[in-house]
Every structure is written in C-alpha cells, then in structure tokens.
Symmetry: C2
Subunit: 356 residues, 2 copies
Amino acid sequence: MGWNRNRLTEKLDIQYPVFQAPMAGGMTTPRLISEVSNSGGLGNMGAGYMNSDEIREDIRKIRSLTDKPFGVNLFVPNLGVSAQNEEISRMEEVLTQYSSELGIKEKLLLPKKDYGTLYEKQLEVVFEESVPVCSFTFGIPDSNVIRELNKQGTIIIGTATNVNEAVEWEDAGADLIVAQGSEAGGHRGTLHKEESGLIGSMALIPQVADAVSKPVVAAGGIMDARGIAAAMMLGAAGFQLGTVFLTCRESGANPIYKNAILNATEEQTVLTKAFSGKLARGISNRFTEEMEGQQLLPYPLQNDMTASLRKQAAKLEHPEFMSLWAGQGVRMAEEITVKELMLKLVKGTEALIDGK
Amino acid sequence: MGWNRNRLTEKLDIQYPVFQAPMAGGMTTPRLISEVSNSGGLGNMGAGYMNSDEIREDIRKIRSLTDKPFGVNLFVPNLGVSAQNEEISRMEEVLTQYSSELGIKEKLLLPKKDYGTLYEKQLEVVFEESVPVCSFTFGIPDSNVIRELNKQGTIIIGTATNVNEAVEWEDAGADLIVAQGSEAGGHRGTLHKEESGLIGSMALIPQVADAVSKPVVAAGGIMDARGIAAAMMLGAAGFQLGTVFLTCRESGANPIYKNAILNATEEQTVLTKAFSGKLARGISNRFTEEMEGQQLLPYPLQNDMTASLRKQAAKLEHPEFMSLWAGQGVRMAEEITVKELMLKLVKGTEALIDGK
C-alpha cells in the first residue's frame, strides 16, 4: 500500500487520492473537473448555488469529457432562517452606497428564494444521473437520502470542521470525511457554532483520524506536494486542494479573481461574513473592511442580498467588491494547467515520501 | 542526513530537533528543561516574567542537572504602552467582582512595573551565564544585543507568525526562526497587528520555509510523531511542542491546569485577550467568556491587573479564573514522563519516515 493505493483510492476507483475542492460560484467548470479526473484525481462540482438543470447539463458535459469518477457538492439548507423586515431594509440601505458606486440603477432588494425546493431538485439530479460521488456541506442530509444514495452506489462525503462533527458524519453514514482546517479558503463547512470550527489542519487531521474509522480527507492549507505529504503523515488518506486549482487555466474563476490570488499574501486572507452572512476566508478588500461591524443578515439571506453587487463588480472588473475566496496558502498559487499541476503533486509527493 | 541530522541539530549540537516550548508562568521548571535536554531535545525556559535572580538560579539548577544545551526565552518589551486612569479604574471595577468572589480582600490595583529595566537585567544574566540559546518573543532586540549574543556564541531564535515577520527576523540576524501556527497554545508571538498572525501551520510552514534561508522551527498543533513528520514534510528543520510538555510529570503546571488540559477538546480552546490584553489561546472558562466584549487594557497592563486574580484562583484550585493556555491539539495530551514522551516522539517519527 503506497500513498496512492489506500482504502480511499480503492473505494473511489481513482489513481491518486487528490481532490479538487468543490467551489461554488462558477469556478468548477466541467473542463476543470474532467481534467482533474482524467489526471487521476477526483474533480468536484461546487453545485451549491446551481439549479437542477445547470447541474444536469454540467454532469453530462463532464461525462462527455471523462469516463472517470467525479463528485457533486450540495449545500444542505437550514430552512429555519429568516430576518425581520427592518433588518432587511437596513442592509438594503447599507448596500445601496455600493450599488450606486457600481452604477446599479435598480434598488437592491432581497430576492425570494426557495432553498428547500432547490435542494430537493438538486438531489433528484444526483439520483437520476447516478453521480459517483456526492459531498455535502453546512448540514447532514436526512437518513433516507443517505440510504438511497448508498443503495445506488453513490459515495457520500461529509464536511467536518472539528472532531465532534466528524463523528456525527460517521454516525450518519458518510463514506469519507473531509476535515476542513481553518486555513481553507471559502466558506467554513461548520455544522453548528461557527467559532467551534476553526481548527488548524495540523491539529484537526490527527484528532479526526483518531476519532473516526472512515478515511479522512484533509482540506485547508494544502497547496503542493509538501502539504499532501504532511497531511498523509497526520493520518489523512485523501487530500483536497481548492485555491491552487482556482488559478489553473481550466478554472472558471474570473481573471480579476485569479490575478488577486496570484498577488495575495497569507496575511491578506481574512475570515469574513460580509458577503454571505456565513464565515468564509477570502482576500481582504474594501467590502470586507467597510462591512466590519455591520449587523449582517443570516446566511443565505446576506448572500442573496449581495449577489447583484458581486455580479456587477465582476463585470466591471472591480475586485474591491468581489468575494475573493482564497486559503492561507495563497503565496503558493501559480498559473498552471491541471495536467501540469497534478503531475507536480504526484511526482513531488512520491519524492518526499521516498526521499525520507 | 536523516530527520535528526540536519543544519539545526548540528548548529545546536543536540541529538533530536525537538524543542520543548518556552512557556512563561512557572511551567518550565529546571527539571522539565533538563530532562528534555538530557533526552536529546532542547529544553527552553519561559523566562519572560522572571526576574534576573530567578533566571540565574534556574540556569544554575539546569546546569547541575544537565551538561546539554538549553534555551532561555525573553519577551522584548514594547515600552510605549500606557492607559488612561479612567480605563484603569474601569478595569479595576470590572475585576473587583471576581476578586471578591475569590475572597481577595485588598482592592485590585495596577502594580507599577518597569519592563524596560526587567528586560535589561534579564539580558545581563543571559550574557553573564553564556546561555547556549536565547529566543525572543513579541519583538526584535536591538542590533547591538544581537551582535553581542553572536559574539559570545549564543544562538538566537526569533518567533514569527507570518512570512513577513520571518523575513524581518532573518534580516535582524536570527539563527533559527520559530514559525508559530495559529494552533499554538499561549500567547501569539506576533510582532505587529495581531490579526495578521493567525496562519495555520499547514500554510505557514511551507511559506516561511520558501521565504527564509535560516532553518525553520515549526510550532503550533504538534503533539506527537505525526505532527513532527508532517512539519518535516512542510519544510521545517525543528519541531517545537508546548501543550504536550505541560502534562508531563516534570512540568510545573498546577495539577488543576494539567487536569483541564487532559479533559479538554480542540473546540474548547479559544483565542482571548482577557487575561493579558494580548491574544492567546487557552481553554475557555468563565473568565474568558464573561470578559468577552470588555474594553481591556493593553498588554502587559491587563496581565499585571489580573495577576493576583489568577494567583488566588490557582491557590483555591478554581480553574474558571485561571489562564489555561493550551493548543488546538489538546485531545492528544497525556500524562507521561519527559523521557517516555521523547522516546515516543523519536521512535514514532522514525517509524513514520521510514515506513513510507
């Protein structure tokens, strides 16, 4: 059993236990995902905000580009979320200064979205298309969903940010558990209190590995072969990288966003709720700084509320109002193709493991 | 060159590149330090709050117990710190409820302390005693101090919490650089803005190793051989462990404190300024919770202000008002002797490195 022949690669039938993280927001294009899977890893679709038609279309595109396994990531909604009208109006007002600065003429209004139905329909596609791997973030699906996925052979991945959450996922029937360290870019996958889910990978991985029997996938701060080899030593069987795939040529990240990542330092990545109401790590900018201390709407309302701002900012190539999610390993990002990156990761890991 | 034969072990003339972290507050007894050094690692005295006589006495005790190298850690003071009388009175008032709860009869008053003179005298002892290794936290010593330490052959270690700080230390003439990840227990060694120094070890170590040419010592989240092997893969030449030495039989930690560590989970360690005015990681308790949101005095004034509280709480075995510093790897702590621990670390690391 070498580093790439373990319970995880056997279970997933992939060559290397390297996952491209599912990043929601248009970055995980079918081309990115299929290139990762074709290179022996596991590409993952960040489908949390996609509707069922978009997911189906992307799944079919992926399948036209690869016959290898791939994953789809869904957000398990918390349906009890609401906000008072005054809170909504206050946030509309706060954001108006930014929307006028960006030349948005329409008044910012909170769109009505039915996240329960969105999630149901997303799941339907996962079943219809017999997706090989389905990962979940922000919550644990109902036991009947887990049972049905098991039945059709879909491998289930749960996202945990501390030991107790990892145990919850194992008890619920997850096949693999992603342990998301505090270094990770993007949203924290915490199930409960956000402040309980900020454990650095160096401490998180071994403690999760000690507590569960299912294979652990390390996420957070891994940017190259050194990170993979390190996470392996800590007890991880799989290695999920996000930020380093964002600057790959095949990623769908906006060029402005890619550029921001390529020029950022680790100090500049901050934890912020400004864009979505949920804690996430990204590159500090005017929006994250100026929204500091504001009373935000709960997730996903704040996210819906800032959507048109973020969209317009991207269109105008204005990074100060874009959500520039990135992990703390950001100095190690580079412009590269997926094939080159995967080769570097694989060869580098082998050299580190054999060389010691 | 194996894992324990590198630039760092050669420079320090030690057998294994394993450092017991210098933890201020009476935990790093001469017995703990000498046992670590006698076991082939580097014991370090947390001398930041000790006066020069205490340091001299401990150095002589250590030397009666070992002929191996050891280190002394000093806090470089920021002499510009002050607070308004009203702020001081307000904090005195806030703390009075706790002091009466603990049966302290005297009014809590801010003691006058001359940290500049304390530091000068601490340095004098380091020179007089020709201490083999001197590490510094919270600031960089003047260039003439560095020059003199160099001249007498004392090896200088600087504490950094991000890449820029590591480069600053290298430029200032440090021989080794401790990269303190956000997982670490106790005070953050950040030189500048505290929020810029919370990088997880998985991201911090490789980025620091890429930026400096001096050997990097990884600190934060390392509790066993897995952490050592991981940090090695990330590019560290040395490995500094704190929390795991606190529960060693030879540590001077209060039994109540040891017990709290042995029973804590990673979720329970929080970053707080409540005890000292400076960010530090410890086990959450009534004091850290209830002081949340209070306007604290700057370090070291808040620390001076809470000293008698902490002392009385320890005497009364009342953990809710003690500073229970601990890192995020706290579940991996165990009651053990230094010799047993060092053997486990060394054998375990060798097995991991050879086994892959």
